[in-house]
Symmetry: C2
Subunit: 321 residues, 2 copies
């Protein structure tokens, strides 16, 4: 296990992911309550809202009010998602609280891209170039390039590492042409195709190709492989993961029945704790937040540790004897 | 990943585990239906019933009727659980269908043993010796020695590999004294304490100590680490796992709130398929059985693949293009 990192950074996406997909209306106050609770756990980066079309995503119609309402805590990066210039402009109104982070993206599967955004690779390259110019216009830093369906796709099947690298290279070239140096390569398992083997192969090829860039894994737990895939990623030295507290969320456009969302933050923190990997997160506090999330959405959420409890109480009892 | 086995054997425990813990009465016919369906999946070993005190485990009051009812299929080993001589005698009435497999057992944690069986290590050694004599009397082969709480215990905390080996050695010595050669060392994560690190450390020490014996992992998914632990075990060369279809079951005496049961058979088979490891099991048939299990117990079961579906349909569509 020599490649396991000593420290892992976790990027919390629960609020944005969760409130995007929930069908019932959720009070703005309760969304704020969740963000404020997350701020007390030691998480250092929290995606708090989505500035998207309220007709398509009614759950984020109150994004402005949520951001006005939560209490920003020193040392934590709060950021939001947007999909177009209108979203950016809305986010820019909250520059007192939000850190604006640009990213460019592509997919390993062109068929998925066409289903998801109605464009092919050729058009997407120009769209990404446009994004970079837009970010420049707004003075937004761009550090991340994302590859969706990085491990497989319902339409095109498994993704070979060479394809993943080729797709990433295309948008990295565009970034370079626009004078942008991408630091983070984010590999997303959009449709829950990844296995530890796929993780090792794709991450291995990406790291071999760009040894100086940092790899981030954005993993869905659709097929129960989420934690095993995080572990396989860490065995490859990956030290940056997106996750959602309690497993909130999921991609509403991936057309998967019973699709689980992102891997659970507290389950990943538990894994790290047990492996002796530092996260800076207080697991027991985070478990309380996961239970709060379940209370807010008012239905069971997929997290395991939040239901079983951590081992702290037992270890504490043993130590006290 | 050079240590991954080429082939893995899966020992199905769903019927026995599941119907033991379910609170509602389940029709004998439906139990039989599940076993018959499992027999069509390619699984080669199925634990079909429990001959235990019907007052303690009312779910198995109909064990005799279930065994009379199912259709034994050539090439599959069907076996039952018992806890005492009375149970053995009941099982012996079904020697036409059942293969009787004796095992001896101990726990890494004496406190758990006292809670679970009201005896300490010293008494347990004599109990195990008595078991071996009993098996000899009935002509029952004994191939397996089990270590419960092999990775940790709510009462005593984490288990160090040296303790696991010491406890196993005690009962292996007794087996040797009784002229019994144990082939399989089964490590059970009774209370959901295992992490990939614990798996690698304990399995590593056990394999180093007894390189000629086969290690079996009996893993609970209490804290969401089940599949990751299976993967870590396979990375150590483990090629024998207990599991439950759909995640049926759980230990009613482990005093864990929200305790998940064994790791799901179909999720393990999916993992193996994705890693290129042979199991002999037809995943899509097994998923249908998992859904049948959910229908029988009439509440959601923890399996992931059974809800998300396998990748076969998508791969098939791609291949057909």
């Amino acid at each position: 296990m020599s490649d396991l990192p000593k420290k892992v950074d976790i990027q919390e996406e629960g609020p944005r992911e969760g409130f995007q997909i929930e069908t019932g209306p959720i009070n703005t106050e309760r969304k704020i309550e969740l963000i404020d609770a997350l701020s007390e756990t030691g998480l250092k980066k929290i995606q708090v809202a989505s500035f998207v079309n309220p007709k398509r995503v009614p759950g984020w119609a109150d994004a402005d009010a949520v951001i006005d309402g939560f209490g920003a805590k020193e040392g934590i990066v709060y950021h939001a998602l947007w999909l177009n210039e209108k979203g950016i402009e809305r986010a820019m109104q909250h520059s007192d609280k939000l850190t604006h982070m640009g990213s460019i993206s592509t997919t390993a599967s062109e068929t998925f891209m066409k289903h998801n955004t109605n464009r092919g690779f050729e058009i997407n390259r120009e769209v990404q170039r446009g994004q970079l110019k837009l970010y420049k216009k707004y003075g937004i830093e761009v550090r991340r390039a994302s590859l969706m369906t990085a491990f497989g796709c319902n339409f095109e099947g498994s993704v070979v590492p060479e394809t993943a690298v080729e797709r990433l290279r295309e948008i990295l070239d565009i970034a370079a042409e626009e004078g942008t140096d991408i630091e983070i390569l984010s590999l997303a398992d959009t449709m829950g195709w990844a296995s530890p083997k796929g993780i090792k192969e794709v991450v291995g090829k990406v790291r071999e190709t760009w040894p100086d860039k940092r790899v981030c894994l954005h993993l869905h737990d659709t097929r129960g492989m989420g934690v095993a895939n995080v572990y396989a990623g860490m065995e490859m030295g990956v030290d940056l993961f997106d996750s959602s507290v309690a497993g909130l969320g999921g991609c509403p456009f991936a057309a998967l029945k019973g699709a689980a969302g992102n891997v659970c933050t507290e389950d990943v923190v538990f894994l790290c704790n047990e492996l002796g990997i530092e996260t800076g997160v207080d697991l027991d506090k985070l478990i309380e937040v996961a239970r709060l999330a379940e209370d807010i959405v008012d239905h069971p959420l997929p997290g395991s540790i939040m239901h079983a409890g951590s081992l702290t109480q037992y270890r504490g009892a043993v130590a006290a004897e």
